[in-house]
């Protein structure tokens, strides 16, 4: 049944080199619409680099990252866009975006891919509410007539700001921080900061949310709540999730699909049960003796 889901993000032959170091080596995978896709792998496997490429923080050395809104795009549209020098184009059903060509802020604004960070990056000196309002920068900027109308208190902007506050309140309710809306974000406890960062990313109304280790530093209870919250995001808002996580129980519980990286290469890709039993994955995580590698590889080849 899951196989019917259409790809939202199609990463093909992604390679990222830093000087002589190959951080990602010819990686191809797909994140499907309405699914939770997890990327796992040992430390230094290149997971965060993949995120940085998808969200435009790094320009990949080569490869294509195609994001399609509104269903699978016709192949000729994709070919036409790739052949042209343009970054994105509208299609009858939505739009197609070549993320590797787009600057980071355009990826959020147009392709609607949002992200969170491994080390939380909140605006700590601004209040919780302000954090969520800043996240709605682009629609508010348009409503304020690129500042000119807003400067004179245009009604359009006042209304847009009221709507932005409503959306912020909705998300504060969802993450249980409504009572702390007027506190500085830096004052929140760690777990609340993680939740706020996700709420802030959701305020940009993403179709794909990339979460970089959302459960890091959370206690088991908080992790269980997080799992429920992430599943509800996907169910209620149709937001697809791409997540990097080291907490295997969380990954296995909520993901529809797991991609395993090691040394920048994909070593496994499939539903959690499949990946869990993949000898290559077990070898990567637990380590095997040198002579056993060939045996394991032979097994895989069979």
């Amino acid at each position: 049944m899951r196989e019917a889901a259409t790809p939202l993000l199609d990463v093909e032959h992604l390679t990222m080199r830093f000087g002589g170091l190959i951080a990602i080596d010819d990686l191809s995978f797909a994140a499907r619409a309405g699914e939770i896709t997890a990327i796992i792998g040992p430390n230094g496997a290149g997971k965060t680099t993949v995120f940085n490429c998808i969200t435009g923080f790094y320009k990949p050395t080569s490869g294509r990252m195609l994001l399609a809104l509104g269903g699978p795009p016709p192949a000729e549209e994709v070919a036409a866009l790739t052949g042209s020098g343009r970054r994105w184009r509208r299609t009858p059903t939505g739009g197609i975006f070549l993320l590797e060509r787009m600057p980071d802020h355009e990826i959020v604004a147009r392709a609607r891919v949002a992200r969170t960070f491994q080390n939380i990056r909140l605006f700590s000196g601004m209040t919780v509410l302000e954090n969520l309002i800043v996240a709605q920068h682009n629609p508010l900027m348009a409503a304020s007539g690129w500042t000119v109308l807003g400067l004179f208190g245009a009604r359009r902007y006042v209304e847009a700001e009221a709507r932005a506050v409503e959306r912020a309140k909705h998300w504060l309710d969802r993450v249980g921080l409504i009572d702390r809306a007027d506190d500085p974000a830096g004052d929140l406890p760690y777990g609340a900061q993680r939740r706020l960062e996700i709420a802030r990313a959701m305020c940009t109304e993403p179709v794909l949310l990339c979460l970089d280790e959302p459960a890091a530093g959370l206690n088991p209870r908080e992790t269980a709540d997080l799992a429920q919250f992430l599943q509800s995001l996907q169910a209620e808002h149709g937001t697809s999730l791409l997540l990097i996580e080291h907490d295997m129980s969380l990954v296995m519980e909520i993901s529809h699909r797991v991609i395993v990286l090691e040394y920048g290469q994909k070593i496994s890709d499939g539903p959690p049960e499949h990946v869990k039993n993949d000898p290559k994955v077990i070898a990567a995580y637990l380590g095997v003796e040198d002579e056993e590698v060939e045996k394991v590889e032979a097994e895989i080849a069979r």
Partner: protein, 467 residues
């Protein structure tokens, strides 16, 4: 109980000893520093020979001061820490209304207290001078306080504004063109009011021009490049003699008019038109209200911008640039608007300065000016508008006050010149403020929006920005 008292006495004693040791250290340091600076003075005697004049009494005073101050600082009971008080909205509103009323009536108060003769000094040297720096401080506050971009070359935009007005208003082709189309009396009458927005736009344009190369720079690198930009502008003004007249500067710049009515003794002058005796005072009072209006405009725009997406993006940029990018904020545009708007206000202030002086030269636009404006913004603290105003009053007003302290000559002898100690007192004031209020006079940030209650954000949460 007895044991406790004895123990307390012992800790007191040990504290005293530690403080004495520390203060002795400070005194030794002061001695080491003051020997080369204060102890020996070279003077020429009657036969034109240099002689060394020892001044050990100065050294003794310096050492004693250092010892005493350090001892007091260490032994003074720790100041009780006030919990971060959230300024209530009514408080601030009352203060704002009171401050505005005081500013509006300031020329009258000066007139009443100092009479027509003395009032010019108080309105010009204190009122106008301070307001120019308040305006510069508020302009730079957008770049440094809100966007967190340390700009050490702000004086460049002040210079661009001043020279834009000076050059345009004295340019022969412009004069000829205006005389041909609008009559010979038009340009001298209206030059200021037409050139003021032009100068602001010009400075904003140069702000963007500076912004582009420094987009990728942070921290110290940004500071150095902006500093260099300020110097480049000054050096161009010095060396491009055919246009700027070099060191000699530009003279006879048209003075502002009362919306077309000049402040002179002629029959069409301000005094004659309003049927009052001529006095140079009217121009000064008018200039005071012009710069007051400009400064209040700066303040109003800044307060408005803080509540708009662009202002919130500036503050977010100061907090975390990477997070900004992850939320779809175009950081390039955000930085450039900060530079442009900050520079624009500097340009307004510059053109006002040129109009007030009637003469400008590159001497007025040295790095010292940038440093003073940055010091005002840093002293004010946290991007606070009121903090900047207080800091400007303290720094510029303090400098001017030193000129007034003639009675000190009676104490220290006729050779004593208080203004010579200006920089020393500046430095001392800075050190004290940085000890007691490391984040500036106003050590909290007012959020731009709130749900239930506006609660100030403590200084330790707010970041200084990365450059």
């Amino acid at each position: 109980m007895a044991v406790d008292a004895a123990a307390e006495q012992r800790t007191m004693a040990s504290r005293l000893i530690a403080a004495l040791k520390d203060a002795t250290g400070a005194a030794l340091l002061a001695f080491g520093l003051s020997v080369p600076i204060l102890a020996l003075r070279t003077e020429q005697n009657i036969s034109n020979e240099l002689i060394l004049q020892p001044r050990w009494d100065y050294v003794a005073v310096a050492v004693a001061l250092a010892f005493g101050a350090r001892l007091l600082y260490l032994l003074a009971p720790a100041l009780p820490r006030r919990p971060s008080r959230s300024a209530r909205a009514t408080d601030t509103r009352v203060m704002a209304v009171f401050g505005l009323a005081l500013l509006l009536s300031y020329p009258m108060i000066a007139l009443a207290l100092a009479g027509t003769g003395g009032a010019i000094k108080w309105i010009d040297n204190f009122g106008i001078q301070i307001l120019i720096y308040i305006m510069l401080g508020w302009g730079l506050n957008i770049v440094v306080g809100l966007a967190g971009l340390l700009d050490l070359g702000y004086v460049a935009f002040y210079a661009v504004g001043a020279y834009a007005y000076a050059l345009l208003s004295t340019s022969d082709p412009v004069k000829a063109f205006m005389a041909e189309w609008l009559g010979p009396s038009f340009w001298p009458m209206w030059a200021f009011w037409i050139c003021l927005p032009v100068a602001g736009l010009m400075a904003a344009f140069w702000g963007i021009l500076l912004g582009f190369p420094v987009l990728r720079l942070r921290g110290d690198y940004l500071a150095i490049v902006t500093l260099a930009f300020g110097e480049i502008v000054r050096l161009v003004l010095i060396n491009w003699v055919p246009v700027t007249n070099g060191y000699a500067g530009i003279t006879s710049i048209p003075r502002p008019t009362f919306f077309g009515i000049p402040f002179n003794a002629s029959d069409t002058g301000f005094a004659a038109v309003f049927g009052i005796p001529f006095s140079p005072l009217y121009r000064t009072i008018f200039l005071f209200y012009v710069i007051l209006a400009l400064a209040l405009l700066t303040n109003w725009v800044t307060l408005r911008l803080r509540r708009l997406p662009v202002g919130r993006a500036w503050e977010a940029l100061r907090e975390d640039e990477i997070a900004c990018r992850s939320l779809g904020i175009n950081t390039t545009n955000t930085k450039l608007t900060a530079f442009a708007i900050g520079a624009g206000f500097g340009g307004f202030a510059g053109s006002f300065f040129a109009a007030r002086q009637g003469f400008i030269s590159p001497e007025s636009f040295t790095f010292m000016e940038s440093a003073i404006v940055v010091a005002i913004v840093v002293l004010g603290g946290m991007g606070s508008q009121i903090g900047v105003a207080i800091a400007a009053i303290a720094m510029i007003g303090g400098t001017e006050i030193l000129r007034e302290l003639d009675w000190l000559k009676r104490v220290f002898g006729p050779d004593f010149e208080p203004t010579h100690y200006r920089m020393l007192l500046f430095g001392l004031a800075m050190v004290l403020v940085m000890i007691w209020r490391p984040r500036g006079l106003i050590a909290f940030r007012q959020p731009s929006i709130f749900l239930k209650q506006r609660r100030a954000v403590r200084a330790d949460m707010v970041k200084e920005g990365h450059g």
